[in-house]
């Protein structure tokens, strides 16, 4: 956002950071409008709503309604919630088509269960991770937010939350609370190798688990090599070798192959390898 140096989230609560001046600058900054609209576009893409079906969408941290305008352009109806009165005033001046509400997402989303078909959020959820009052506990606020979001979405509804996590611990805190609230899903990272273009989208599903889309990256021509899964599981050597009976032909052949790999001199495998010998042998 505006200043170099510290992240805006560390300078105080959002309702104070986004005062009249900041709100006015925000909505007149063409680069800001461009970036926010692009992220809204990507978020709606990740929502995978069926084409030509107007949805009722919740926009969390709607601010000046930049992302909401994109939703309206796509034919959706939306309700926005934001904590900064100054930003919402700018939204009013821009005559947005969705209704906006002054509220704190960490206190819960004040709607009936099963209200919204989908939810997006652009650059907002990371504000929950910093405690601005002594009484704030980020984990609790995050859980309150996610559990109420789970409730206000229809069953099988999706939420795509674009955010700027400060570090991996923050991202993990957020995803843990989302999982506790009952969501499945994952994080899609666009342009992971670029410091400036890198964007995180937390994709959450409130129904049965589905696969998450791939993140965008610069080199789309080359085929991505099949990735191996990294697990912390360690199988003891004994149990891995349990299938093979000791002293059998199979065991002998395996041992010979192992020694060949080690570079030692091994007799060639023939029809006599591991053959049962007479007892006198």
């Amino acid at each position: 956002m505006a200043s170099r140096g510290r992240r805006p989230e560390l300078r105080g609560p959002p309702e104070l950071y986004y005062d009249k001046n900041e709100a006015r600058k925000y909505v007149r900054n063409s680069r800001m409008i461009d970036v926010q609209t692009k992220m809204a576009e990507r978020a709606v893409e990740l929502l995978c709503v069926p084409e030509d079906k107007p949805c009722y969408v919740l926009d969390i941290g709607c601010g000046t309604g930049l992302s909401g305008d994109y939703l309206s352009d796509e034919g959706h109806y939306w309700v926005g919630i934001d904590i900064s009165p100054a930003m919402l005033d700018e939204a009013l001046d821009r005559d947005t088509q969705g209704d906006v509400i002054l509220g704190d997402m960490g206190q819960g989303i004040p709607f009936k269960p099963g209200t919204f078909d989908a939810c997006i959020s652009i650059s907002a959820v990371q504000w929950l991770c910093n405690a601005n009052k002594k009484s704030d506990i980020p984990a609790k606020r995050l859980y309150r937010f996610f559990s109420s979001l789970y409730s206000v979405l229809v069953r099988g509804g999706r939420a795509v939350l674009q955010l700027y996590p400060e570090n991996s611990e923050q991202l993990e805190l957020i995803t843990t609370q989302a999982t506790r609230a009952g969501f499945t899903g994952g994080v899609v990272v666009d342009y992971p190798n670029s410091a400036k273009a890198k964007k995180f989208y937390l994709c959450l599903f409130s129904g049965p688990s589905t696969s998450i889309p791939e993140g965008l990256s610069e080199d789309t021509e080359e085929e991505k090599p099949a990735e191996s899964t990294f697990t912390a599981e360690r199988i003891p050597y004994r149990i891995a070798r349990r299938g093979v009976v000791r002293k059998s032909r199979e065991w002998v052949l395996e041992k010979k192959a192992r020694r060949r790999r080690q570079g030692k001199e091994v007799r060639p495998d023939t029809q006599y390898t591991g053959r049962k010998r007479k007892p006198r042998f």
């Binding site: 079906k53 107007p54 009722y56 919630i81 088509q97 209704d99 002054l102 206190q107 209200t115 309150r144």
Partner: protein, 125 residues
């Protein structure tokens, strides 16, 4: 704030739960704002509408021509859908209050924006 939004809003004050609905509406300033008619969207929102709350709100705002209940085959009845479209999306409350039925807490509406901010004691943990 449109009547569709009002119909779906619920109080999230601590301890209130499912009884935080519907919020009682009092309006001092109302505006009619034409909105493009989309029958698909209206038809899909009809099942979500709480009719008693809608009728009460429409009554408070002195609206006429409000259907008393969803009629059979409403998806294809354009007249019904148009009436619902007008009531749900074209009537905006600019100034007023919303009251939580269980706790009595008032949420003011200013310039069309309801203020749903809670104090620390009122927030559910």
């Amino acid at each position: 704030m449109r009547l569709l939004t009002h119909n779906l809003l619920s109080s999230h004050v601590r301890g209130v739960g499912p009884r935080g609905f519907p919020l009682r509406l009092q309006a001092t300033e109302v505006r009619i704002n034409p909105v493009e008619f989309n029958p698909d969207f209206i038809a899909r929102m009809i099942p979500k509408v709480e009719w008693a709350a809608l009728l009460e709100a429409a009554d408070t705002l002195h609206l006429i021509e409000v259907p008393k209940e969803p009629i059979q085959g409403y998806e294809r009845n354009e007249e019904f859908l148009r009436k619902m479209h007008h009531v749900l999306l074209e009537v905006e409350v600019l100034e007023g209050t919303l009251q939580c039925p269980e706790s009595g807490r008032l949420f003011p509406i200013s310039r069309g924006i309801p203020n749903m901010l809670l104090s620390d004691e009122e927030t559910e943990t």
